[in-house]
């Protein structure tokens, strides 16, 4: 036997359902631009029907759940592609700065100064008596030493910047992992009651993506809905509700490096020993920055030292055999290197004696005539002698190949970053197609729900009128 109160009840629940629906719609609209948000839908189901006699009478609907519409597998895929993107973009960023150091397209660089240096000796050979050409030799030598210094210090500056970058990235990583641990807690609290923690999960997925952009992580979710996050191969950043910090330390002279370089340190618990995980990090922005700093730039600095060291030694060996303008024995042209080959580009200096008195520049081989230019000739010939790479390349060959390698590398990483960006943008397009909010859709939904709200209200009024009708029966 159907009851009027039943109709009222259906209307009331329906009103509530519409309100939940409308609230979800408004939540969707409000979060239309929220990063990582997945649109939500109410899952409405019929309430159990009442069986009276041979009939089943419906009792209306209830909202079972509010669910995010998303593809978890896709989210995971995006996460791993974004890790690659972070790596590629990180490389492209740092390499662009490295390239700038060697950019001679517009302004002159080391190549030009080295050429001018040897040309100055050619000029000296053509008028070895002149004091003016000796000054030219000195000035061009100083220009070379300055430019070796410039290239060296600019490369080191990039390394130092990378240090600072790593430091700030690590801070961001720590804030992400702290939030992930919090979200772990929230999610398990909500889901233990049987609900779905849509918004928290969205947020956590987003954070995992962002984390992956910075550093290579592995993560897995357990049955309670908590993720465990590992960085590198040993550092557990998040486990359950607890989070472990990464720190950055600069250890001077570590591993034969030139100065304090930032190391990424993992601190498992407050009182345990620190673990240096720098070497384990191969992905994300930090992995890229470390690679550029420790492999690319380090190699370039060594190449540069090689050129500076050989140049100074070869020139010195010839110059010291010569005789200067007053017939005195030749002195060193460049100062000796205090630290051997290491840092020789930074330490390349013209001998102070020559700097003070250009007549000490030796052009002659014998001490008799001032027109003797044999040593100047020999030094200028060094430009095209194969003195580098075990006697297989000239200074020009060597330097050009260094510039060429940098250029090819930059080209490669730029292409990789571009390609990876395409991939990520494709995937996130697919993601938005599934989980993104469409205003048209939400508006339709809103009108639909509004209509059903109106209808439910009318239903209640109808039931109310019916009550009135029944109650009025009694008055007569």
């Amino acid at each position: 036997m159907p009851k009027l109160t039943g109709i009222m009840g259906i209307g009331r629940r329906s009103l509530a359902n519409s309100q939940v629906g409308l609230q979800t719609v408004s939540h969707n609209i409000a979060n239309k631009s929220t990063e990582g948000f997945s649109r939500q839908r109410i899952e409405q189901a019929t309430t159990p029907s009442l069986g009276t006699g041979g009939r089943q009478v419906g009792t209306g609907a209830t909202v079972k759940a509010v669910r995010s519409i998303k593809n978890d597998y896709l989210e995971k895929q995006i996460q791993s592609e974004m890790e690659k993107l972070g790596y590629n973009e990180g490389q492209a960023e740092s390499m662009a700065r490295v390239e700038q150091v060697f950019n001679e397209q517009i302004n002159g660089g080391l190549n030009r100064f080295v050429g001018e240096f040897f040309n100055a000796f050619r000029e000296l050979a053509s008028s070895p008596e002149s004091a003016a050409t000796r000054t030219l030799v000195k000035e061009s030598a100083k220009a070379v030493t300055r430019d070796f210094g410039r290239v060296n210090s600019q490369l080191v500056d990039v390394q130092k910047d990378i240090d600072r970058q790593i430091e700030s990235e690590v801070q961001i990583i720590n804030s992400y992992t702290t939030e992930i641990a919090d979200l772990n807690e929230k999610i398990s609290q909500i889901e233990i009651r049987g609900a779905i923690a849509n918004d928290s999960r969205d947020r956590r997925d987003l954070l995992l993506k962002k984390l992956g952009e910075k550093i290579d992580i592995k993560y897995a979710e357990n049955e309670e809905g908590q993720v465990t996050v590992m960085a590198g191969s040993t550092a557990t950043l998040v486990s359950g509700f607890s989070q472990n910090e990464l720190t950055v330390s600069a250890s001077p002279g570590f591993n034969g490096h030139r100065y304090g370089e930032a190391r990424v340190i993992f601190l498992p618990t407050e009182n345990s020993t620190e673990v240096d995980i720098t070497k384990q990090l191969k992905g994300g922005k930090i992995g890229a920055a470390l690679e550029v700093r420790d492999i690319v730039i380090d190699g370039l600095l060594k190449d540069l030292d090689e050129v500076a060291f050989s140049m100074a030694n070869e020139v010195n060996a010839l110059h010291i055999q010569g005789k200067d303008r007053s017939g005195r024995d030749g002195v060193l042209f460049f100062e000796n290197f205090p630290t051997g080959k290491l840092n020789s580009a930074a330490n390349l200096r013209i001998n102070e004696t020559i700097d003070k008195d250009v007549s000490r520049i030796a052009a002659a081989q014998g001490s008799f005539g001032l027109g003797d230019n044999r040593v100047a000739n020999k030094i200028s010939e060094l430009q095209y002698s194969k003195v580098l790479n075990n006697g297989t390349s000239t200074f020009d060959d060597f330097y050009t190949s260094v510039v060429g390698t940098v250029a090819v590398d930059v080209n490669k990483v730029n292409a990789a970053a571009k390609h990876q960006k395409e991939i990520v943008s494709q995937l996130s397009n697919i993601r938005e197609s599934i989980s993104g909010v469409s205003i048209d859709e939400e508006t339709t939904k809103m009108i639909e729900l509004q209509k059903s709200f109106d209808a439910s209200a009318r239903l209640i009024r109808a039931a109310d009128e019916m009550f009135d009708t029944i109650l009025s029966l009694k008055r007569y």
Binding site: K32, S33, R39, E99, Q100, F102, N103, E104, Q105, I106, N111, R112, G115, E116, N119, R122, E123, A125, S126, S127, P128, E129, A364, G366, F368, G369, L370, G371, D372, N373, N377, S380, E381, Q383, Y384, D396, T400, V403, G404, V406, A407, V408, V410, N411, N414, S425, N429, E432, S433, I434, S435, G436, V437, S438, I439, D440, E441, T443, T444, I447
Partner: protein, 333 residues
């Protein structure tokens, strides 16, 4: 496919970024008029440009050096010409005095005075300078190399790099021109010495060595001290010694020969220099063209591409505008 709003916006941002990036690249090329603005724009071309630039830089220096050497040799040549003219004049004078029948002691003494003057003139020629450099002193360029017929210079040849791996001496040491030092004779003497050494080491069995046989002493001729020859002529004239005059004439012939040989040597060096400068200049232009081909932007191409990029940008702006605009909300009242 379901299209969400964010997809639209992302697409708009992406395509706008792309067209703007393309436009920025073209704009940079248009302002610098360079196709390569950093090495990675075209690594292969960038390294080729670097090489070409080094070549240009060296070629410019080589041309400077070669011109300097040319100057020096030109002047040396002119001086040697003067010297040979002086010697020829001397010979003419002496020829008339070699016969006792054609002249008398008084005339000879008068001629001796002229010879003395010529001697001084030769001394002056030997001490010629270009700028502040004595040209006949070998490496000794800052001190007069001839004093009263004595050579105080050395045998230094100022070699100068005029092309990659090519050197050329820009001076003729005075001892070759005036003192008769013969490079060939020295070389021959060295060879003789080596030959004898070989003989001693190997014994007669290796007699068929491909070296110059010993029985040609002075095959290249011995040089003569020009000053001495002239001085002797003067003394002979003063002493009225016709035989001495005749002897001096032979020496004078050798001396003239010696100077002419040096002049020929300088001439051939000048020739080599001319050729070298020409090929350097050609190489310079070739390298400039090469560098330009690799790094310079084609103005027409860049501007038309820039225009195309601008068109693209406008197109994507207007489609973006349309794409973002309408939604269902615009049609609800």
């Amino acid at each position: 496919m379901r299209v969400s709003d964010k997809m639209n916006f992302q697409q708009v941002t992406n395509s706008l970024n792309k067209t703007r990036e393309k436009m920025a690249i073209k704009q940079e090329q248009a302002t610098t008029m360079k196709r390569i603005n950093k090495p990675s724009d075209d690594p292969v071309a960038a390294t080729r440009v670097l090489e070409a630039r080094t070549n240009i830089q060296s070629a410019e220096q080589y041309i400077r050096n070669a011109n300097q050497a040319k100057n020096f040799l030109d002047y040396s040549e002119r001086t040697l010409e003067e010297l040979s003219n002086v010697l020829i004049r001397l010979k003419e004078v002496a020829l008339g005095q070699s016969n006792s029948g054609t002249s008398n002691p008084v005339a000879r003494r008068a001629i001796a005075m002229e010879v003395e003057q010529i001697y001084d003139q030769m001394n002056a020629i030997g001490n010629r300078k270009i700028g502040d450099r004595y040209i006949f002193g070998g490496y000794v360029t800052q001190r007069s190399p001839f004093e009263q017929g004595q050579y105080t210079g050395d045998s230094g040849e100022m070699e100068i790099e005029i092309n990659r791996g090519v050197k050329l001496a820009m001076n003729v040491p005075g001892d070759i021109v005036f003192m008769g030092r013969s490079i060939e004779a020295e070389k021959a003497a060295q060879e003789d010495q080596d030959y004898q050494l070989n003989q001693a080491l190997r014994g007669p069995a290796s007699i068929n060595q491909n070296t110059r046989p010993l029985d040609e002493p002075g095959a290249f001729g011995q040089g003569v001290d020009v000053f001495q020859a002239v001085k002797r002529l003067e003394i002979a004239l003063r002493a009225d010694d016709t035989r001495g005059v005749q002897n001096s004439l032979d020496k004078l012939d050798t001396a003239i020969n010696q100077v002419v040989m040096s002049r020929a040597d300088v001439g051939s060096r000048l020739n080599a220099l001319e050729n070298n400068i020409e090929s350097l200049q050609k190489g310079l232009i070739d390298n400039k063209i090469l560098a330009s081909k690799f790094e310079d932007a084609d103005a027409f191409e860049v501007y038309s591409e820039l225009q195309a990029a601008e068109g693209n940008l406008k197109a994507s702006l207007s489609t973006s505008g349309r794409l973002i605009q309408p939604s269902l909300l615009d049609f609800l009242r």
